[in-house]
Symmetry: D3
């Protein structure tokens, strides 16, 4: 039994509230336990210089935390005058993950800007951001598909992310909250598609190591959690689901 | 009749949800029409260098907007590497306004950090920030008062803010939303106490001017709006109200 | 009697030396008591991106203080690597104020750059900057009007600014010097046109408040000071005065 | 057969030249094919603030590329005024990896600064940096151990890193050079200890995905490459090897 | 005859107005032809970290130009967020030059901050800065000597600077103004003491070269100019001169 | 006899290894005693804005030191977020020096980017950079001359640099290493062409001065050292020498 009463392979309660804000093309508030992230997807009708004239679109992401998303107030990166290493690492991860399930050619020369703003943090903010951002992106891209008459819905498959880890006592657990995460010996973030394939796998020993057997057990635990998240995504996406499912069929 | 059906001296619907986040000592989500701001108050047990050893406390504020709080995505100030002029102006205003109603000696050598993060903008974000931040500060300071056994509740009076303006047609209106604000000839932000005194008055002609009569009429309009906001603050503050009321008595 | 022998409604001695520098299109050295500001107006034959192709011109301002303009040396903002909040607030105010009295369409697609560099500070640097910058702008715009054959002199009215305040003892005074300013309970900056209308009104309680009666009394005091400043401006502008006066007639 | 004649599971020629520079406590030039990195380890007799008084040491890393390490000149990060996301990600990885094999308590309150400067890049610069930095760290720590009379040699095990990947044609290959890396569908960096345990595992689909079977096959390929690198490290470390081997024995 | 009527070995008219500002310990306005620089010397009762506890003082300098000191407006370095290479080069030169004639031990643990702000530029701003800053430093150091009861006047000799150059036609000239400087083939700045020794000699071919004979002729020309500048310095320094002269005697 | 056994007019051993890196158009590793600098020359087929359409090319330089090029680790300028004054001074010097011997019109509208990265420092890094960068530039420009069919080889003469100085004991020495440089009373850097003319001459008293006689003696010492460096350059440049020699003939 874990400190909050969960078993080793139980994820936290998840809700995804769509159309959370009035301005963005797509927006959700995702809650994973006490972790809450506002994810928005904005469509910009142009691409970065390296893609101009290529016919290809782009997906890019930014991530931030409110100063009091955390137990202790953290200084704003705007006041510091620079974006920190942890933030950069996370926003690069979010962008890369989302690009794996979108057909950038079908999107055409436009950019999907993803913004993930953590308003409350309790572990797993990067995986919650990916899971929520996928939904926001689907909603925004569905609007573009209709308004601009795209020939094909550009999103090819579902995408969700979860953390798994090994405690100091050597127990493998799913979906770590902040107290678990900050004392874990090994921390692994897994990003998977609806088809069950990996997009990103980042396992890190925190002044510790892990064996190949543990790697396989952790990945298995993550798969359980991700299937559940994708079920929740399907639920909140409703009719948009049918457009992705066609794509999935194409892949098989 | 205004574009959203309000009369000239009607403010927008206001709600203040307290204890919106689990980590900060005080937090609210204030909604003024479609404008939504998360205001938090954090207590730090030290003061800036210029106050060390003085026995005085400090109140300081930071303000930010999520990139898609607005109709068009705005670039993050952390990505730009610097805080813009508008943001600086607003956060200096919020800090100054709140310091006018707090007895910094009674607070003792600690800092109240105010963070106002606009998650959705539709005009009046700085006045909503002040009105919400006052409530968050009261909640945080009430906790400090009890936990640290302060001799006196340091907050001396209520504080709220609202905008008034003159339209291009010369009509004076209360509580401008974004379409009204962006086309107004004159824009005035008024910060007042529960005792009906001014803390801050900022009237600005946008490539336009205003007469002394208009100044007086605008101020009168603002007073109406502010009384209503302070009634709402009293409602949500509940028992904390009695501590401020003692202070108000002291002042009279 | 005030610490320097002035009565409550007496401003400090003011001189405006025109053509102070050889390079700028317009330049003055304004002295208000011991406060000395070099104000220059530069004409650039292009406008910021948001105005390109609009046929409209622009006025923008920058403000700075020499490190030893003040009693204690202050660090240069160039060494710090960023412009501070106070500087931003002031330069935004100067630009906004000047734009209120210029017909940007008549100016055409060019920018007037205003630079206010305080070489000696003794209170009231922002109001001295506005008063001096107006004269520099008139001189520069008169040159453009002639050289480029503008159909109409684009400046519509005079513009000057002054500070008023309430001392800790509750006395209302005009044109505060630094010792008065740093101990004042209320500080108000007023920007007015020759027609006696407000362009900007910024009243601030410094951990203090002010009543509506005080607001009106302060504004009245400011009007006295501003009329005197505009008389001085007319004096130094000489023949350019006739071009502004035509404009003023148009307005009445 | 790969474009440079290697088989799928063959790594590139590796040399590690120790004591490459005269000033640092430890320094190597590592060459992995055409990739060349100068790795230095510097000892500083103090720790970051969060460790002061803890009795614990620290290892931190910085990574950079010369402008013409690459085919096209890349702008210096010092000229841009900020460190990019890729650099931050890599230097955080190097520091984290090295900390996994050092006993920070045995090191005592001192910092090992690792600097990895890529003078020529042809793929795999981050893994070459880790492999080379480990050797530089051993040399520097051996000096400290002797000079300061540490009770125990703080390095607990060997550490090396290599990349593996999946080509667009679906072939799994070891130790990608730049042409292979830039066209790979999946890229995985593996950091392992002499005991064969993982310290870090980062698999990334570049607009592509990978299955669990592929994950296992890639990891197996990496193990082959890492054993060879650790043999080379043992060779160049010479007598220092005996001190690490004692540690390894302790672990078993 | 030069474009302004001067002969080859004639300097421009020079005036040095002392006590130009009320706040700094020492201040002058130096005019060299149309070049005008405000030089201030501020005393700070502490030294940079590398000198703490050494009993030695320090002299450091900053240099800046107003945006319209020049014919075309130049962007402020505070707006750019960084100090440019030219500015850095000049302020390092000024500080180094002044340190050559001050006995830092006699000064004691305090810093002389020199600020040179060019309000009008017409060539030779760095040499005018050094010549003016020397006078400002003498005035400030004389105050310190008296107020703090220093045992010895710390300034050991006079110091002045001038530019010499070779025109495109190969003619050697003294004290170049801006049109001469911008077309010169060779530009040389010379900083000398009252005793006629060099402190700094910087000769630069601008896409051109110079011979050893030309070097000697240029230096001779500079000596003429510097003697005249030192005579002017003696004039404006008045009684302080006697304190420096004692020093000079010591040296001989 | 000097601390390393050299006589006063003996330079250190010099080697220049060409084609040190595979990517740049020109690259060398120059060693001057223990000072080692990687110098690369990159050709970019465009020029800075101020030269577009002029038919002229440009040469620009950047300079940096690895953190452990020095005895104590120095912080990276990329981490500090800005390039320091010393670096700026040196890279401006390198660019200016190289431009003196290249015919920018013959080069055509392209930029030669010079990068000098000090991997080991023992005094004289700026002069070694110039001497090495000249060779790298020749190699790169020879390639451009052939590939683009330039009518004329744009490099007009050889270029090398060396330091000379006066010790605290008043002895004049050639090619100072770090211990000599850091204790020298006078330091002079001399940049000369193959024709024996000066491009740059920078003599600096470090809290000391020098006479005209010493200036001449130092320059003479430098000439000896530079002739030797140019002989080494000719050696390593091999056949390219003939192209420069034609140019030299043109000049005579």
């Amino acid at each position: 039994m874990r400190h909050d009463g969960r078993t080793e392979n139980t994820g936290r309660p998840v809700t995804i509230e769509t159309d959370y804000l009035i301005h963005p093309e797509g927006s959700v508030l995702i809650s994973v336990g006490n972790t809450k992230v506002i994810c928005t997807a904005s469509i910009e009708e142009r691409v970065p210089p390296f893609l101009r004239g290529s016919g290809q679109g782009w997906v890019t992401a930014e991530y931030s935390m409110l100063p009091r998303a955390t137990g202790q107030r953290t200084q704003r990166e705007s006041s510091k005058g620079k974006v920190g290493g942890r933030t950069m690492e996370i926003q690069r991860l979010i962008g890369r993950a989302l690009r794996a399930v979108i057909d950038l050619g079908a999107l055409g020369e436009r950019t999907v800007w993803i913004d993930c703003d953590v308003i409350q943090a309790d572990g797993g903010t990067r995986t919650a951001s990916i899971t929520g951002a996928f939904v926001a992106m689907c909603i925004a891209v569905a609007k573009v598909t209709e308004e601009k008459g795209l020939k094909k819905f550009p999103i090819k498959d579902y995408l969700a992310a979860i953390s798994v880890g090994k405690t100091e006592e050597g127990i493998l657990i799913l979906d770590l909250d902040y107290p678990e995460d900050s004392s874990a010996a090994v921390d692994m973030n897994v990003v998977m598609t609806g088809a069950g394939e990996f997009v990103e796998l980042q396992g890190t020993g925190e002044e510790a190591t892990f064996t190949r057997q543990e790697m396989n057990d952790l990945v298995e635990l993550a798969e359980v959690g991700i299937h559940r998240l994708i079920d929740i995504q399907k639920d909140v996406l409703g009719p948009i689901t049918s457009q992705i499912d066609v794509q999935e069929g194409d892949l098989l």
